[in-house]
Symmetry: C2
Amino acid sequence: MSLLTVGTMAFDSIETPFGGVDKVVGGACTYISWAASYFTDKINLVSIVGNDFPEKELDALKRRGVDLSGLEIKQDGKTFFWRGKYHYNMISRDTLTTDLNVLDDFNPVLPEHFKSSEFVMLGNLTPDIQDQVLNQLTSAKDSFVALDTMNFWMDIAMEKLLEVIRKVDVLIINDEEARQLSGEYSLVNAAKKIHTLGPKYLIIKKGEHGAMLFNENKVFFAPGLPLAEVKDPTGAGDTFAGGFMGYLAKTGDTSFENMKRALIYGSTMASFCVQEFGIENLKKIDLDKINERVTAFSNLVKFDIPE
Amino acid sequence: MSLLTVGTMAFDSIETPFGGVDKVVGGACTYISWAASYFTDKINLVSIVGNDFPEKELDALKRRGVDLSGLEIKQDGKTFFWRGKYHYNMISRDTLTTDLNVLDDFNPVLPEHFKSSEFVMLGNLTPDIQDQVLNQLTSAKDSFVALDTMNFWMDIAMEKLLEVIRKVDVLIINDEEARQLSGEYSLVNAAKKIHTLGPKYLIIKKGEHGAMLFNENKVFFAPGLPLAEVKDPTGAGDTFAGGFMGYLAKTGDTSFENMKRALIYGSTMASFCVQEFGIENLKKIDLDKINERVTAFSNLVKFDIPE
């Protein structure tokens, strides 16, 4: 089934304790689409770039089955640029530069054939733009919508954010954001409160510690895969979301059992992402490598208790 | 099989964001022994207390099958006392008072019938005392020994600590301690280095995020059970270790597969521990409750990937 991916496309300059890269291709929509492309070739991308975005990067996405007719290329503008530096723990980071550039004028208009996408992944953006996309879907109620957001929007646009959250099926946030949104420290209690805000499903990402899926009274936990080398956490959350929604779009199955699998596939994709800077590793992998790592996830947590 | 438990017995005054208690019974050996007592009644306790330690607490341990003939009761001394205050994250804490009292004179002498204990759990203590205990075992090579320690001893007694670590089968430390001991940030690389220091098995505790078991190239992960309420993390690590070693002593099986189960039982016991202050909850549970929670652990991580 088709997956609508909405979010930023960007240039990132990234510094971590293990190296750095300058002006590599990034952005939520880029990571989401690359990750999802290993599961479905019906990806409807909606984003905006400037005249400086490399043609060959767009060609590479096209070859992965990504439909770029929802991509606005602003000939008189420059692509969104972010520069950041990670601390030693590879979790906290300082944003050194944010040049919105064309993102300032992002006013997404969905091509007609995008409006009935069965699955929708709204990457982190202003809640206004996320809502604008939702309102263009012919039958948002029939689409299965996931939304990513961040504490920044909770700080400055909570009311609008709550309005959008009410409309989505899955909310994907990290542990600190779940605490901020709910006012609850315990993630179990946070999940209960967040369910009352609308989303039937809640995914709480905990970085290297894994991710949790909540639905009614059910909970599932996907660990982080222990890795010898983590080079760059940038885009890991988006890659996770892309893998998760890509797997759901591939299978067309939104049962809790299948969502557990989707969580494992999302975690698997994220584990590849962090091993190289930018989207480098996401370009190099294949289904065999993905399935091999899913098996590693399975072995990591498998135990049996004799009766 | 028999389990030797060595460590402090104490009074703790604990303040957390969710309440506080004054001068409740605590100490590593107390938590370890209580947790292990749900799996084996052959517990050989070695510790020291003052004349102020409540008789009824000792009686309660005896009723759990704990042999107290290795407990020194110093008639002219007071029991070790610790006062601490936890921060909002329930991980970091400030130590406000440490009165060593009788612990200053702790010079453990093993009763003859303790010296051939098949399993040994060395709770966090000075490496000197841990070594003193190991040297009294008739055949330390035949005992299966686990050791808990902390960053404090790495700071002030690293050489002696390394000497003791070399002799044990399982080292149980937290993630920060593993990083400090190995000089490696990645826990996978930390585990590799720590294996070269002696222990064939390494358990890295990550608090609410779970615990990992490393052996050669194998790794197993036991998640933390998501809890609605955490009142007091004091003793969680000791309780984990007690559950882990208690299960091994019960089964007498130190295969990797069985150690995975032991890790789940250890995590289960720790999850009970944190729900009340001190050892209160450890006194209230029973095997049915433990097994019910082990099932919850199993469900938390269970998924199947169709071929």
